[in-house]
C-alpha cells in the first residue's frame, strides 16, 4: 500500500518550523520582556520594573491618543459593521443580479488597493472638503477608518450568512413572518456571532492603523500608533514597549474571541 505523503517526515521539517516560529515571535517576545526593563534602554536589561507602564499611564499625551484611538475604533467598527451587514445581506440574500461579482470586488477593494494609495486619495479628498466646510474634527478619521474596516467586518458576516440554512428564513416566511420580522426574529439571532466577530476584527484593524491615519489626521489628532511612531523619531524608551505590550494584549484577546465566535455553531 502506498504511504500517504507526510510533510512531518520530510528532512529538516522540524528545523524549518522552529526557525519560522522563532523569527515570527522572538521580536515580539523581546518587546514584551523589555517593557519590564528597569533601565531606560530598549536593548540592555537592568532588572524588572513596572516603571514604564506607570510612566505610559501617567503620560497625558498617551492618555489622549489612547482615548482618541478608542473613540475612532468604536465609531469606525460600529459604522463599518452596520454597513457590512447590509452589504452581506445584499450579496447573499437577493436574487443574483448583474454585476454582483463587481459589487463583491468593490466591497473588498480596500484589501487589494495599496494602503498608501487610499491614504493619499483620502488626504486630497478631505483637504477639498476641509477647504469647503472649514470642519477639521475627528470625523475625517472616523470616515477613513470606516472605509478600510468594511471588508474586514464584511467577510465574517458574509461567511456566516452563507453558512446559514436558507430554509429557516423560508420557514419563517411560511409561518406568516413578513420580511423585516424574518430578519429580526430568525436571521439576526443567528447572525450575531458573525456580526460580533466582524466588529471586533474591524475594531482591532482600526486601532492598529498607521498609514492612513498619518495622512488623514490634522494637527493634534494623534492616535496611539501615530503617537508611538512620532516618539520613535526622538528618544526611544521602553515606554513604547509597554504601550505595545498592552495593545498586543488587546489584539490577542480579540483574535481569540473572534476565533471562538466564528466556530460557534449555526
Amino acid at each position: 500500500m502506498a504511504k500517504r505523503f507526510q510533510i512531518q517526515q520530510m528532512p529538516g521539517f522540524r528545523t524549518i518550523a522552529v526557525v519560522t516560529f522563532v523569527l515570527l515571535y522572538m521580536p515580539i517576545f523581546l518587546l514584551v520582556i523589555y517593557s519590564f526593563n528597569a533601565g531606560t534602554s530598549i536593548a540592555i536589561w537592568e532588572g524588572f520594573s513596572w516603571r514604564w507602564y506607570v510612566s505610559a499611564w501617567d503620560n497625558q499625551q498617551v492618555q489622549e491618543a489612547t482615548i482618541r484611538s478608542l473613540v475612532i475604533a468604536f465609531w469606525a467598527s460600529a459604522i463599518s459593521t452596520t454597513l457590512a451587514v447590509l452589504a452581506a445581506l445584499a450579496t447573499t440574500r437577493t436574487r443574483k443580479f448583474k454585476g454582483q461579482a463587481a459589487v463583491f470586488a468593490m466591497i473588498n477593494q480596500p484589501l487589494m488597493v495599496p494602503e498608501i494609495v487610499t491614504a493619499v486619495a483620502l488626504l486630497i479628498f478631505f483637504a477639498m472638503i476641509k477647504v469647503a466646510t472649514g470642519y477639521t474634527g475627528l470625523m475625517y478619521l472616523v470616515i477613513a477608518h470606516t472605509a478600510f474596516c468594511i471588508p474586514f467586518a464584511y467577510l465574517p458576516i458574509r461567511a456566516r450568512l452563507i453558512g446559514m440554512d436558507l430554509a429557516l428564513e423560508q420557514a419563517a416566511a411560511d409561518l406568516y413572518a413578513p420580511p423585516f420580522r424574518v430578519f429580526t426574529r430568525i436571521t439576526l439571532p443567528q447572525l450575531w456571532p458573525g456580526i460580533l466577530a466582524g466588529a471586533m476584527l474591524a475594531f482591532v484593524i482600526s486601532l492598529d492603523d498607521v498609514v492612513i491615519t498619518e495622512f488623514v489626521k490634522s494637527a493634534g489628532q494623534d492616535t496611539l500608533p501615530t503617537y508611538m511612531l512620532g516618539q520613535l523619531r526622538r528618544v526611544v524608551t521602553p515606554e513604547v514597549n509597554a504601550i505595545s505590550t498592552v495593545l498586543l494584549g488587546i489584539s490577542v484577546t480579540m483574535v481569540v474571541a473572534f476565533t471562538a465566535l466564528s466556530k460557534l455553531k449555526t
Partner: protein
C-alpha cells in the same frame, strides 16, 4: 360545487439559461378539501417546484394558482394560509420546541394565552408534550420531524405542504410516521399535499396521487387506479414492478379491447381513458396478477429460467418464446412443493381484464 382547495392552471416554471430549464411544463391540477394528495415522481420531475409554488417560494413563469377560487399567484409566502413541513425540517435552532411550534401563531398576532393553549394541544397531538423546553438540537430526528409537523399545523392552515418529510428517517420510524401522518390528516381535516419519490409512501397514505415526470403530470388517480390501471409506460414502470407485453389490438370496444399476443392467442385488456389506440401496443401486466401453468394451458409459452425465493413470495423468471422476459410472482403457502423446476417448458397466463393497454 365549491371551488377546489388548490387549483393550478397551466403552471409553468422556466429557469433561464442556455438552454432554458423547464422545471414545470403547464401543469394543471385540482386538489379538493380534506384530501391527502401526493405528488409522486423521480427527482427533477417538478414535484418540489410545484409544491414551492403553492407555498409561494417560487413564482410561476406563467399560469395561475387559486385557493378556494382566490388568486394566490402574486401573494408572498407570509400572506398565504398554507404551511410547509420542510425536508430538512428547518426548525429554528435558537428557539425551544414550544417557541418553534408557537412561531406562526405569534406572527399572526394571536393573544399569548391562546398561543399557549394551541401549542399545548399541538404538542399533545404529536406526542411531544414532555419536550416543550428542549432546544431543537437536543432532540432526535424523529422528534424534530414531529415538531416540524406541529409547527406547521399550529396556525391551522387550509393546506399543509409536506416536502419529502420522511426521507431522512430510518425504515422503522418511516413506517410509523406514515400511519401517523394519515391519522393527523384525518383528525385535523386539513388538506395535505405530500411530495415524495417513494411509491410505497404514496400508495399507502394518499387519497389521490399525481404521477409526475419531466415537468408534466402524467396521471392523476387513487392509489388503486394508478397501480392497477397505469395509463402509460412511465407510470407503469415507476410504480411497482411491471411486465411489458407486446400486443396487437384486434378489436376496440371503448373501455376494453381484444388484443392478440405474440403467441397468437387473444385476451381482453383494459384501455386507457380517452385513448383511441390501434395497431401495435404495449400491455402492462403486474407480476402478481399472472400465473404459470402447463405449456399448452396459458397465453404465453416459454421456459422457466429462474426461481427466486423471497420468503413471502416466489418470483418465477420466464424466458418467453417471443424473446422477451416475464416475471410471475406468487405468494408462498406453508408446506408447498413447487410443481415446476428451472428449465421446464411452461406458459404464463393472466385473466381477461388484467392486462392494461398503455398510451406510449
Amino acid at each position: 360545487m365549491t371551488a377546489a382547495a388548490i387549483s393550478a392552471r397551466n403552471l409553468r416554471k422556466v429557469y433561464p439559461g442556455s438552454p432554458d430549464v423547464v422545471a414545470l411544463a403547464d401543469a394543471s391540477i385540482d386538489i379538493q378539501d380534506n384530501e391527502f394528495f401526493t405528488l409522486l415522481g423521480p427527482s427533477g420531475c417538478g414535484k418540489t417546484t410545484l409544491l414551492r409554488m403553492i407555498a409561494g417560494f417560487e413564482h410561476p413563469t406563467s399560469g395561475t394558482l387559486t385557493m378556494h377560487g382566490e388568486d394566490l399567484t402574486n401573494l408572498p409566502p407570509y400572506k398565504r394560509p398554507v404551511n410547509t413541513v420542510f425536508q430538512s425540517y428547518a426548525l429554528f435552532p435558537h428557539l425551544t420546541v414550544a417557541q418553534n411550534i408557537g412561531f406562526g401563531l405569534e406572527m399572526l398576532g394571536k393573544p399569548k394565552d391562546e398561543i399557549k393553549k394551541t401549542v399545548g394541544e399541538m404538542m399533545e397531538l404529536v406526542k411531544m408534550s414532555q419536550m416543550a423546553d428542549r432546544q431543537t438540537g437536543q432532540i432526535s430526528g424523529g422528534q424534530q420531524q414531529r415538531v416540524a409537523l406541529a409547527r406547521a399545523l399550529a396556525p391551522r392552515p387550509k393546506v399543509l405542504l409536506l416536502d419529502e418529510p420522511l426521507s431522512a428517517l430510518d425504515f422503522k420510524l418511516r413506517k410509523d410516521m406514515q400511519l401517523e401522518l394519515k391519522r393527523l390528516q384525518t383528525e385535523t381535516g386539513i388538506t395535505f399535499i405530500f411530495v415524495t419519490h417513494d411509491q410505497e409512501e404514496a400508495l399507502t397514505m394518499s387519497d389521490r396521487i399525481a404521477v409526475m415526470s419531466a415537468g408534466t403530470i402524467r396521471q392523476i388517480g387513487g392509489p388503486r387506479d394508478i397501480y392497477d390501471r397505469p395509463a402509460e409506460r412511465f407510470v407503469a414502470d415507476f410504480i411497482g414492478d411491471t411486465n411489458f407485453v407486446p400486443a396487437q389490438i384486434a378489436a376496440n370496444t371503448g373501455n376494453d379491447a381484444q388484443v392478440t399476443l405474440s403467441s397468437g392467442k387473444t385476451v381482453t385488456a383494459k384501455m386507457p381513458e380517452g385513448a383511441a389506440l390501434t395497431g401495435k401496443v404495449t400491455l402492462a401486466v403486474r407480476p402478481e396478477h399472472a400465473s404459470i401453468g402447463a405449456e399448452a394451458a396459458g397465453l404465453l409459452p416459454g421456459r422457466l429460467s429462474e426461481i427466486v425465493y423471497f420468503g413471502t413470495d416466489t418470483h418465477f423468471h420466464v424466458a418467453l418464446d417471443d424473446g422477451t422476459g416475464f416475471v410471475v410472482r406468487s405468494q408462498n403457502r406453508p408446506n408447498e412443493t413447487l410443481p415446476f423446476s428451472t428449465g421446464d417448458r411452461i406458459s404464463v397466463d393472466f385473466a381477461p381484464g388484467v392486462g392494461q393497454v398503455l398510451r406510449d
